[in-house]
């Protein structure tokens, strides 16, 4: 009896017929002093025990998300003839970076239900649950976050950018602009057939300031007094140095 239940249980579990085997060109992004954006190459294969199933071909969605944090969005309105910030809404959680790459048009690779479940599209990745109380037009504020960050190159959906060979090998490249901030980024890869997610894989990318950038940033946070004094010392040394150097130049 127990054995039968176990067998039934095993049967009801979704059979992972197809699985992702992934390679990344880098699982760390180092923000150095001359950091000018970065490109992460994603290449993977689909591991399967059985022949390729019939029906619609396999599609791939790659979503890279930066750490989420609450943001205050402010709206300007005209007061006394000038434009000032008047309303504000706290959007509970918005990633600081969000990029999606798909193998076909977004609507063709993923159904709305699956998008809702896995929060893949940009609109679904942002949450503003508690904000509903403050203003009736919260949606405008959430849209504004998306618009502003899309213009800054921080949010993007790139369709038809994942190349798939023989329903088995896939590759794509995710561009990160120069204005990203550090944190733990997550990369999710979805395999879909006719809009349904058949397999799912998640990994992390570490985006970190390194070297001098790291040192200066840490010093400014952990020992601000020291950092301030250092800034002043540099300023005074530079001012004195320039004055002395030009005096010597003039005398010649």
């Amino acid at each position: 009896m127990i054995r039968l239940v176990l067998v039934l249980l095993l049967l009801t579990l979704p059979a992972r017929a197809e699985e992702v085997v992934l390679g990344l060109s880098q699982d760390e992004v180092a923000i150095t002093a001359n950091f000018d954006g970065s490109q992460i190459l994603v290449f993977g294969a689909v591991k399967r025990e059985e022949p390729i199933p019939d029906g619609p071909p396999l599609e791939v969605v790659v979503a890279v998300s930066g750490p989420s944090e609450p943001v205050t969005v402010r709206r300007k309105a005209r007061r006394f003839g000038i434009w000032v910030n008047t309303d504000s809404v706290l959007v509970d959680s918005a990633p600081i970076f969000y990029a999606v790459a798909t193998s076909k048009a977004f609507g063709d690779v993923l159904t709305d239900v699956e998008d809702l479940r896995h929060r893949i599209s940009i609109e679904r990745a942002i949450r503003s649950v508690g904000a509903a109380m403050q203003t009736s037009s919260v949606q405008d504020f959430t849209d504004a976050v998306v618009r502003i960050r899309e213009n800054a190159g921080l949010y993007k959906i790139v369709e038809n950018s994942v190349a798939i060979d023989e329903q088995t090998l896939f590759r794509t490249a995710i561009d990160m602009p120069a204005n990203v901030t550090e944190g733990d980024y997550s990369m999710r890869i979805f395999l879909t057939r006719s809009g349904e997610v058949v397999s799912f894989y998640e990994t992390n990318i570490d985006v970190r300031k390194v070297g001098l950038e790291r040192w200066l940033f840490n010093l400014s946070r952990e020992n601000p007094m020291m950092y301030g004094l250092m800034s002043l010392a540099i300023a005074i040394a530079a001012g004195w140095g320039a004055s002395a150097a030009f005096r010597i130049l003039r005398q010649r």
Binding site: V71, T72, N85, A178, Y227, I234, A235, I236, G239, S243
Partner: protein, 305 residues
């Protein structure tokens, strides 16, 4: 060559920053002003967050003022006593300014405050300078008599008098302290040295001789901006030393070049040029406030930064 600024967390072109520093440096050398009132808005325009721009600019002004004051110390054109009195007021003002700045930052109105301050002060000072220098040019043309300054006004009736030998003055300490406080507040809120306010105030309000005015104001500015830098660094963590270094390398070189150019132009012409420039910056900022912005929404402090 792009460079990632560790505190501002944006990537900018290093040569653009060196160029901006140099350009503003030339102007500051030509006109004998700190240049903060031009640099801070320019930093806004290239996408540096306003809080970082203001704090970092204070740090850069320390460098340019220090470079400038050395020449004045050698020429003995610094009234240390007057400078110290102005400084005492300045430190109080700076502390007050940073408190106001942080309070408005929490309300999301700091950009507005900074810009309004710029519009008001640049407008008033620019207009006054413009009228003054026009009158001076006209007077020089008509060959009129030497302008006489009123020697006794209400300022001489105030208590707590003190003798300032270098300036040849015997006046109450209240007006210099008040001037110092005002300049300190401006330094903290606007990221400027405040020379463009202090110099006219010293000449017209305190009646100081013109030759000691610039040196004395530079002396005061060094300490007030250094204090402001420390306050911003410890309360807001917004001083970006990488940005400051790039700006001041360009700035100190530009300032020396500017001084050479400045000696070749006439004082009145120089002043009218400066007035026009001040008014231009003022109008640009005023238009930005008056015209409907293309993006009504903005993302404020994200908490983590």
């Amino acid at each position: 060559m792009q460079i990632y600024l560790p505190i501002a967390e944006v990537s900018v072109n290093a040569f653009l920053l060196l160029g901006l520093g140099g350009m503003v440096g030339i102007l500051s050398g030509m006109f004998g002003v700190g240049g903060g009132f031009l640099m801070t808005p320019l930093l806004f325009f290239i996408g540096i967050p306003p809080a970082v721009a203001v704090a970092t600019e204070a740090n850069q002004i320390v460098a340019s003022s220090f470079s400038g004051v050395l020449a004045h110390v050698r020429r003995k054109t610094v009234d240390f006593r007057m400078g110290t009195v102005l400084l005492i007021g300045g430190l109080f003002g700076a502390a007050l300014g940073v408190v106001v700045f942080n309070y408005l930052k929490s309300l999301g109105q700091v950009d507005l405050l900074v810009k309004l301050c710029y519009v008001v002060f640049l407008g008033v000072i620019g207009a006054m300078m413009f009228v003054e220098s026009l009158r001076a040019i006209r007077k020089a043309r008509s060959g009129g008599g030497v302008p006489t300054r009123k020697k006794h006004n209400w300022i001489h009736k105030l208590p707590f008098k003190m003798r300032f030998r270098t300036s040849g003055l015997y006046i109450s300490v209240i007006p210099p302290v008040v001037v110092g406080v005002c300049v300190g507040i401006l330094a903290a809120i606007m990221g400027v040295g405040g020379g463009f306010i202090m110099v006219p105030a010293m000449i017209y309000l305190l009646g100081m001789p013109t030759k000691v005015v610039v040196g004395t104001s530079l002396f005061q500015i060094i300490f007030v901006t250094a204090f402001t830098t420390m306050l911003h660094a410890t309360t807001n963590y917004t001083v970006d030393v990488a940005l400051a270094v790039l700006l001041l390398v360009g700035g100190v070189i530009g300032a020396q070049v500017g001084t050479t150019i400045g000696t070749k132009l006439k004082a009145e012409q120089l002043r009218i040029l400066l007035a026009i420039m001040v008014l231009a910056v003022c109008f640009k900022l005023a238009f930005d406030l008056l015209l409907m912005p293309s993006e009504l929404y903005s993302i404020g402090d994200s908490g983590g930064h």
